[in-house]
């Protein structure tokens, strides 16, 4: 087309403006997310049912959106270092996600993992996790995995071995459930509270976990149990030393001097040194370690009994 009255000048100016806008946006999003976007997670509508009705026919899409938000909320809150941080939006977000899409498998399973994580790495709401999983099982009565997960939560976080065993039995009763769930229920009843029993649980999860994330979580737990074992050994040696010297130990040097530890300082499987609490003289895992905090119930709370050297 000839005779168009506008030189490319306008086009260049327009392109420059748009590029500048995009660049500004890149800068802005970086600086604003560092500050923490104020109140963007204020959920006006906390009820899943209401959102579902408002979503018209875009339920599944909106479920994805809320799932992304839940994940991002969980991750971001975890990274916060301030005191008094709160995860209180997490359950509503997961509830809305699963109301919008009742078949959203990972929302139930991962969501339960998120919810049951102890504070400060998570909200420490195992009851909410169970509620979520029950909701999932209600909508999907063939998914025995949800009931199995409920069992895990009872076992690991609530230390309620009877309820855990009952959940495993419930799961075993679901048509299509694998054969080892029955024996698992039995083991739970007899060995509940025992590290060995817990080990069986997690090994089972690793063998059958349908998602890598769940398998990795189980592996993590297994390593935590190993850490507990290592700490038992270290604390036993520290106790012997205390009995011998009558003094509370504050460093690893004396142990190393006697050849009781191969490494000074001894390190956990992640390579982070174990620390000794100066007040109690007990060894524990460093707060900087990825295994912190350890599950308390299967850890010793007092001095192991040690016979004084004869």
């Amino acid at each position: 087309m000839t005779a168009s009255p506008y030189p490319p000048r306008t086009g260049i100016a327009a392109a420059a403006c748009l590029t500048a806008a995009v660049l500004l946006h890149v800068l802005a999003s970086r600086s604003l997310s560092a500050q923490g976007a104020p109140g963007n997670e204020a959920l006006y509508i906390r009820s899943g049912e209401v959102v579902k009705r408002l979503a018209l026919s875009f339920d599944a899409l909106l479920a994805d959106v809320y799932w992304i938000r839940a994940v991002q909320y969980f991750g971001r809150t975890r990274l916060e270092t301030g005191a008094g941080k709160s995860y209180d939006q997490l359950y509503p977000l997961l509830d809305i996600t699963t109301t919008l899409d009742p078949q959203f498998n990972i929302a139930y399973r991962f969501g339960a993992v998120f919810l049951s994580e102890a504070y400060p790495n998570g909200p420490g709401q195992p009851a909410a996790a169970i509620a979520l999983l029950e909701k999932g099982f209600g909508a999907n009565p063939t998914r025995w995995q949800y009931v199995q997960d409920i069992g895990f939560v009872y076992y690991w976080w609530l230390r309620d071995y009877v309820s855990a065993a009952r959940s495993f039995q419930r799961a075993a009763a679901v048509p299509g459930a694998p054969a080892w769930l029955g024996p698992l229920a039995a083991v739970t009843l007899t060995k509940g509270g025992d590290r060995a029993g817990a080990r069986v649980l997690w090994e089972q999860m690793i063998r059958t976990g349908e998602h890598e994330y769940l398998r990795r979580t189980a592996e993590h737990r297994l390593v935590q149990l190993r850490v507990l074992d290592e700490l038992d050994v270290l604390n036993h040696r520290l106790a012997r030393l205390h009995a011998e010297t009558g003094r509370v130990q504050t460093s690893w040097a004396p142990l190393a001097a006697r050849g009781w530890i191969s490494h000074d300082p001894p390190v956990d499987p992640a390579g982070v040194p174990y620390v000794i609490d100066p007040a109690t003289g007990l060894a524990s895992v460093s707060p900087k370690s990825p295994f912190y905090p350890l599950p308390v119930d299967t850890a010793p709370t007092s001095w192991p009994a040690v016979r004084p050297p004869s």
Partner: protein, 317 residues
């Protein structure tokens, strides 16, 4: 003095087809001049490219090649637009405005000061024949009224050149007569009028020169009288003193006979017959000649012929 309107090889192709591969030539190398103060009729059947030409002149379309000049400057120039007026085909204006408001709005775009706008608007609306309807919203007006408003808005800046696309469309005979006299008044004021139409009688009544467009090509252009004069179809002879009986023997040499008044007959005979011989024979039969007039083709016949010929040329015959 340069021509008021000038086109040189003005061509417009439209891309048709989904992939835009086949260009359709809507206007092919149009070259014409319109002198200042002329009334030029741009004629052609529907789809010939008349509206396309007008849009190219208004720069609503951009030419594929060639150029158009108005008052010596490129068409579409801002300075040109100050001095011209345009009435689009089947115009449609802002529903929600009244005729007065529309004209005042357009007048303001020309920089007409507020004090003068009202007076000019009132005068124009009078001139095109809009009375109390001028205060009604435009959506309430009939098609004919809208056409008149359209003409008024084309004249709001007292233009030197006016472009009218089918100005008579939608008007009843009274309206057509009004518009016709308005155009003649414009001409008398020295305004150049370029109008397109497919109503030939209007062109015959108004135009000095015409251009005939067929299928994108200019097939004829020139003074109306010359175009039609050169071609004598036959003769019309008005005689008195004859009766049907006395005329009967001549029937073979005549194409038609009509009694127009008591004792008067209008006789038509073809070109091939020499008038002198026939008159001599009629005279000896007792006829007295009242008038002898050559018969030219009507513009319509000429038009159809030219368009047909133009079509044949395009088909390569």
């Amino acid at each position: 003095m340069p021509p008021a309107i000038q086109t040189e090889q003005l061509t417009k192709d439209f891309a048709v087809g989904f992939w835009r591969t086949r260009p359709r030539r809507a206007l092919d190398a149009l070259t014409l001049d319109v002198a200042s103060g002329e009334v030029f009729g741009f004629l052609g059947p529907n789809g010939a490219g008349k509206t396309t030409t007008l849009k190219l002149l208004m720069q609503l379309l951009f030419p594929t090649s060639g150029r158009a000049l108005i008052l010596g400057r490129p068409a579409g120039d801002l300075s040109v637009r100050r001095r011209i007026g345009f009435l689009p085909e089947q115009p449609y204006f802002y529903d929600y405005l009244t005729a007065e408001e529309l004209l005042e709005y357009f007048a303001s775009l020309f920089g007409c000061p507020r004090s003068e706008r009202r007076a000019r608007t009132a005068r124009l609306l009078d001139e095109v024949g809009i009375g109390s309807e001028r205060r009604l919203a435009l959506r309430k007006l009939s098609k004919g009224m809208i056409q008149r408003v359209g003409l008024a808005q084309a004249l709001v800046n007292a233009p030197e050149v006016v472009f009218l696309d089918e100005p008579m469309s939608g008007l009843d005979p009274l309206g057509r007569r009004d518009i016709r006299s308005l155009v003649l008044r414009l001409r008398d004021r020295g305004c150049t009028v370029f109008f397109s139409s497919h109503i030939l009688s209007d062109a015959e009544a108004l135009c000095g020169r015409v251009g005939i467009l067929a299928r994108g090509r200019l097939v004829a252009c020139g003074r109306l009288s010359e175009m039609l004069a050169g071609d004598v179809r036959g003769w019309e002879l008005i005689v008195s003193g004859m009766t049907a009986e006395t005329l009967a023997p001549f029937a073979g040499r005549l194409t038609s006979t009509a009694r127009i008044a008591e004792g008067r007959h209008a006789l038509e005979f073809p070109r091939t017959t020499a008038p002198e011989a026939l008159i001599a024979d009629l005279a000896s039969a007792g006829a007295r000649v009242v008038s002898l007039t050559p018969v030219h083709p009507t513009l319509e016949e000429y038009f159809v012929e030219q368009v047909g010929r133009g079509g044949a040329a395009q088909r390569g015959e």
